[in-house]
């Protein structure tokens, strides 16, 4: 009976009901689109970040994170690669040598992060390969060639074919220098990356630094980045015992991690404000409809309807409106997210160059990525917030005294 009354009351002023439903729907859709675009943007940043960095997960020696010395290296990466390859979560794993050094030419010297890679491995360092603007990428894992960023090349006045000295610490902890030739120049668009990272064949570095077959890290890339925890739990126990640990990207790239967390927090604040505004609108509408029906509510209580049932009736009206609004909002939100997931939101006209932030490159074409649990969480939040707003008008309705409500109109 309460449900029947509630449903018919909503139909009675259909325009107001539909406007309220539309407000909830638009608020939900807007929040859903923001979440999808935000999460998609973060995902792109993280993917670029781990491609530039050390993968979703990284195996390296304890202490290397705090002090990336070449003396802290994995002596025999073979058993580790075998264990990693057995995990169903892994797409690729790349043995690497990573360290800090100085590149010097006649024009000057710059501090760099060098990365020894095996160019023959499929997908290895593809973000740099795809960003090559001059010359060729590394082809032989043993030759003394170098690929550097455009900003670094500018600062050191380097062109293709020029020689440069790389000075760093070797496996024994001694300072060593080696001569390499510029084979390629890349430009990712990130000033930080283009001005600091250079790539060298891993075999050449193993020789130059006295590591034999050793590496400083193994970069692991996952099939599904959202299965990071599962991959961690699966791979960790399989690794050979020793001073090597398995690290998540969040540990190795704290700037990126912190940016995502802070951006998420600001996102939540924005969604909360939008939804609060919508909810206040719903409160106003429901309260208005209760005040307009004072007399009628007085009649209901006069003939014996209890206050609790009056309150339930108003709450049921609020729930109906909320569910309809959420349903419509989800449909709109899913549609908008699908569109921007497929075609992206092209913001390249807003900036003549690529963006970088927190050590990674931001793709100017943002693609939405809405995960089910985020959409569900939003729906629950909208539902709880909006229905909560219905409590006051429902309580007010339950307090209407029939004798006051039924005074002559």
């Amino acid at each position: 009976m309460v449900g029947k009354l509630a449903f018919r009351n909503l139909r009675r002023n259909l325009r107001r009901t539909l406007l309220t439903v539309a407000a909830i729907a638009l608020g939900t859709a807007l929040a859903m689109f923001s979440i999808g675009l935000g999460d998609g943007g973060h995902q792109q940043m993280i993917e670029n970040g781990v491609r530039i960095g050390q993968g979703h997960l990284t195996v390296q020696r304890e202490g290397f994170l705090e002090s990336p010395s070449s003396s802290l290296y994995i002596h025999d990466p073979g058993p580790f690669m075998a264990a990693i390859s057995r995990s169903p979560y892994v797409a690729n794993a790349y043995p690497r040598i990573r360290g800090e050094g100085i590149l010097a030419t006649a024009a000057g010297a710059e501090g760099v992060v060098f990365q020894g890679i095996d160019p023959a491995l499929p997908g290895e360092a593809d973000i740099f390969r795809d960003s090559l603007t001059e010359g060729e990428f590394l082809t032989d894992e043993n030759n003394a060639h170098l690929v550097i960023g455009a900003k670094l090349a500018d600062r050191l006045k380097l062109t293709l074919g020029k020689k440069v000295v790389l000075t760093t610490q070797d496996a024994a902890g001694e300072i060593t220098s080696t001569l390499v030739r510029v084979q390629g120049i890349y430009r990712t668009g990130s000033g930080t990356i283009d001005g600091s990272i250079c790539l060298v064949p891993i075999g050449y570095l193993q020789n130059a630094l006295g590591m034999e077959k050793g590496v400083t890290s193994i970069a692991i890339y996952l099939e599904n980045p959202f299965k990071e925890k599962e991959a961690l739990a699966d791979i960790g126990p399989k690794l050979p015992p020793g001073p090597e640990h398995l690290y998540q990207w969040q540990t190795l790239q704290p700037d990126l991690r912190d940016y995502v967390v802070i951006d998420d927090a600001f996102g939540y604040m924005t969604y909360a404000i939008v939804l609060l505004i919508v909810a206040i609108g719903v409160l106003n509408t429901i309260l208005m409809s209760v005040m307009e029906r004072r007399r009628e509510i007085g009649i209901l209580t006069a003939v014996g309807m209890e206050s609790e049932d009056v309150m339930k009736m108003i709450l049921v009206e609020t729930v109906f409106i909320t569910l309809l609004g959420i349903f419509a909002g989800v449909l709109i939100g899913l549609g908008v997210n699908w569109y921007f997931s497929t075609y992206g939101l092209d913001l390249s006209s807003m900036s003549p160059q690529e963006w970088s932030l927190a050590g990674t490159v931001i793709d100017p074409v943002l693609r939405s990525h809405l995960r089910p649990h985020r959409a569900l969480g939003l729906c629950v939040a909208v539902f709880l917030l909006t229905v909560t707003m219905g409590i006051y008008p429902a309580w007010k309705a339950s307090r209407i005294l029939p004798v006051e409500a039924m005074e002559k109109p």
Binding site: M1, L5, R8, R295, A302, V303, G304, E306
Partner: protein, 227 residues
Amino acid sequence: MSIIRTEHLSRYYKQGPVQVHALQDVNLAIEKGDFAVVAGPSGSGKTTLLNMIGALDKPSEGRIWLDGFEITNLSRRQTSRLRRDRIGFVFQFYNLIPVLTAYENAEFVLLLKGVDHGARKEKVMALLEKVGLSGLEMRKPHELSGGQQQRVAIARALASDPVIILADEPTANLDTHTEEGLMDLMEELNREMGTTFLFSSHDPAVINRAGRLIVLRDGEILSDERK
């Protein structure tokens, strides 16, 4: 035993600094089967008296009994249940629920009482036929005339088999012909079903039909006569 009994019943309202005595020391007993009218000019306390008896309002002083049970200081929930189970109301402005049909309005109290579907249907159809509304069950109030709406209100009032029906100026908004038809109906219900009626009215056409006339002035009973 009286259906309704009041003892030193008084009701005061504050209007700014002034205290208004709507009812003063009313002692009244309504017997089963009475067809009584409370008459008096505007402001005499008629509606206030019916509100007290119908547990729509609480007295400032005094006590009230309904069918031997004191109802003076019941809780909100208790008064709701009392009105649902024991009292029927017919209001001046019909006061039907606009989103419900005639059938659903008459059925409403039975739904509140939890009566099952079959029993509800049987009772409501019989009541609507009794009040002369067969065939109009599915109409909403705005599709009915004033007299028809008031008949639905009477059916609703009768649905819970109340000990008394309180009718606050039930014919005030009706034309003479409709008013007569309605009064005929209520007299017939009083006669055949033994339903106790207590009206408030200043309409001579209603007053003339009263089996008992209680006259109020300035919140006090001026006279109380059986015809």
